[in-house]
């Protein structure tokens, strides 16, 4: 058990503890809000990575699930009592709806080539965006509406801790998920779907399950997001959210769970500081361009992202060590022969 705690897990626990203790020694409001945002988007990006990184499915409609969660929570808290119980209920409801939608979308398109899922989710997300704009009775259209968050979250710190707790729980759950036999099959589908199918796995079932899992956790992120703002409008359904998830996953590292968290951290911090710079240099108002370019370069040159790059460096270093060892061996042998 202790040996298990060493290495990666040990550092993760340290980081989680430091983050949990963070409100104790800092009362920077901006920082708390920024970190909360990072936790929420980490959940979104991880859920996205279940599709992109683990199963090799590209979805362009992830904002739809995020938006479903955000609106479900907002509407329930607004219409009913803003209590903690209602909050939990709204999360469950959002997850249920998101699960059903992703189930249907997956069933329709995942038996076809990868393009279809990308296109279909994009179009479906477009439909949801329009629906959120038009269905004013519920969503109040583009203007959105404010609502009261549960008493418990009036204190920013409590919400910060809740978001952190959710991130940790989702991380643990998804780690279990990707390490399970189910997760292994998903990776097999990513690597070679035909071969996986020929081994007797019903790949469609696995892909649809991945789609549902991703949708459910994206909805959770959306629920947390709307409560963090105490406000919701159509921006939660826009392509920008999908792009955020995509950028975070790609830049952080696909096919890992740490990658999306790292990516979310990098992107949120960069976004924060670049939009600060925009006051002085107007070009930074279009910071998306830089992200777009970095993203394109990342897709071509670093398809494994930060985590993959880090692993490569480490592998190279240990590879070098091995090579050095190998290079030494003949010398040692020669010496031994000399001595002998």
């Amino acid at each position: 058990m202790i040996s298990k705690l060493q290495g990666k897990n040990f550092w993760l626990i340290v980081i989680a503890a430091v983050l949990a203790a963070f409100p104790l020694f800092s009362d920077s409001r901006t920082m708390t809000i920024l970190l909360t945002q990072i936790f929420i988007f980490s959940i979104l990006a991880m859920s996205y990575d279940i599709l992109l990184g683990y199963t090799g499915i590209v979805s362009f409609g992830h904002a739809m699930f995020f938006g479903v969660g955000a609106y479900t929570t907002a509407v329930i808290l607004d219409r009913m009592e803003p209590t903690l119980g209602m909050f939990l209920l709204s999360i469950a409801a959002g997850m249920l709806i998101a699960g059903i939608i992703s189930f249907i979308a997956g069933l329709l398109t995942l038996r076809l080539k990868s393009h279809f899922y990308a296109m279909f989710t994009m179009a479906l997300a477009g439909l949801f965006l329009v629906a959120a704009e038009k269905w004013r009775a519920v969503t109040n259209g583009n203007d959105g509406f404010t609502f009261r968050a549960p008493e418990f979250f009036q204190d920013r710190t409590m919400f910060y801790l809740t978001a952190l707790g959710c991130l940790i729980v989702v991380y643990l759950l998804l780690s279990r998920f990707v390490a399970s036999p189910m997760g292994r099959v998903l990776i097999a589908v990513r690597e070679n779907e035909q071969r996986t199918a020929s081994l007797g796995y019903k790949t469609l079932h696995y892909k649809v399950t991945a789609s549902v899992v991703a949708g459910i956790f994206a909805s959770l992120a959306g629920s947390l997001y709307s409560v963090s703002l105490r406000f919701v409008n159509t921006s939660v359904m826009t392509m920008d959210i999908t792009l955020d998830a995509l950028l975070m996953t790609i830049i952080g590292g696909v096919g890992t769970l740490i990658g999306p968290i790292l990516g979310a951290t990098v992107i949120e911090f960069a976004q924060h500081y670049l939009s600060g710079l925009a006051r002085d240099y107007p070009i930074f108002e279009r910071w998306i361009i830089f992200f777009g370019i970095v993203y394109i370069l990342a897709v071509v040159f670093f398809p494994q992202g930060i985590v993959g790059w880090f692993r490569q460096v480490r592998a190279k270093r240990s590879g070098k060590r091995a090579a050095a060892l190998k290079a030494k061996q003949p010398v040692l042998k020669a010496k031994a022969e000399e001595n002998g």
């Binding site: 398109t109 038996r111 279809f116 296109m119 279909f120 179009a123 361009i289």
Partner: protein, 287 residues
């Protein structure tokens, strides 16, 4: 009667614009099996540069030509820089073209400013004809005409010329064409540029039709074009015309009779096609 006719003309005009966009998309997909998510960006660039050239020169014809040239140049850059490095990797293609879409539409805001710009219709195309109590808006008829013309020209090139033969052969069997000593990469490049030119043309024609151009229009229309490509069958050129008309008409009628369902109807069409005929309504080939 008057109403129905107007709705039909309206739907046909929108359908033709979507067709111009979808045609490039479907050809590029059929030939290179690249789904170009940046296509809407090229469309938006066509729209903006059309408005720009119209403002500078005051000639509608020159503005359309300028937009098409912009599309060709951008198509060249896109193929060389974005598509080339990721041939054969579908996931990377989808990701990178979407990233380029982002860059394209943000670049629009840098070059032309973040606000929407009004687009004017030239005098000789504005106004309407009245024939027997039926009012026909000139510009819409003009779009329909251009759409049919483009369809005829492209169809002629595809069916009657050597390059068309190569392209069609490439859609059917890329390796075979290559084995016959034809530089398929060059064909890819030309088809991509042609597709980009069609997208830009659609954008340039769209601008006076909608009255304004804005950076997000690319994504909006790209979604419609995707729906059309799925309904018509990926890689089928006539299929995309029929599907575009179908989507245009359905959108136009629904917007009048059941406004709340106008976008949903396209999605429903797409879902039905995906369930029953995933290879597309108008193709015989298996997907």
């Amino acid at each position: 009667m008057d109403l129905l006719l107007n709705l039909t003309v309206n739907g046909l005009a929108t359908g033709m614009l979507i067709f111009l966009l979808a045609a490039g998309l479907t050809l590029i997909f059929g030939l290179m099996s690249v789904l170009n998510f940046a296509h809407g960006g090229l469309f938006a660039w066509g729209a903006f540069s059309g408005v720009f050239f119209y403002g500078v020169t005051g000639s509608f014809l020159i503005s359309v030509i300028g937009a098409v040239l912009t599309g060709i140049v951008l198509g060249f850059i896109t193929e060389k820089l974005i598509i080339k490095p990721v041939y054969g990797n579908h996931v990377q293609q989808i990701l990178i073209t979407l990233g380029f879409m982002l860059v394209l539409s943000e670049m629009l805001k840098v070059v032309f400013g973040p606000n929407q710009i009004a687009a004017k219709t030239p005098d000789y195309l504005s106004g309407s004809w009245e024939a027997g109590g039926v009012i026909l808006i000139k510009y819409r008829l003009f779009i329909i005409l251009v759409g049919l013309l483009v369809f005829a020209v492209v169809q002629f090139i595809l069916k009657r010329t050597k390059i068309g033969l190569i392209v069609r052969a490439g859609v059917l069997n890329k390796e075979m064409v290559q084995a016959l000593g034809i530089d398929i990469n060059k064909v890819f490049l030309y088809v991509f540029m042609a597709g980009a030119a069609l997208a830009a043309l659609a954008g340039a024609l769209m601008a006076p039709y909608s009255g304004v151009v804005y950076a997000e229009m690319g994504l909006e229309f790209a979604i419609l074009a995707f729906i059309v490509v799925v309904i018509g069958g990926m890689g089928s050129f006539p299929g995309s015309l029929l599907a575009a008309i179908l989507v245009g008409l359905a959108g136009s009628y629904m917007a009048y009779f059941v406004p709340s369902l106008s976008l949903a109807v396209n999605m429903i069409l797409m879902a039905v096609v995906l369930i029953f005929r995933p290879q597309g309504l108008f193709t015989a080939k298996e997907a």
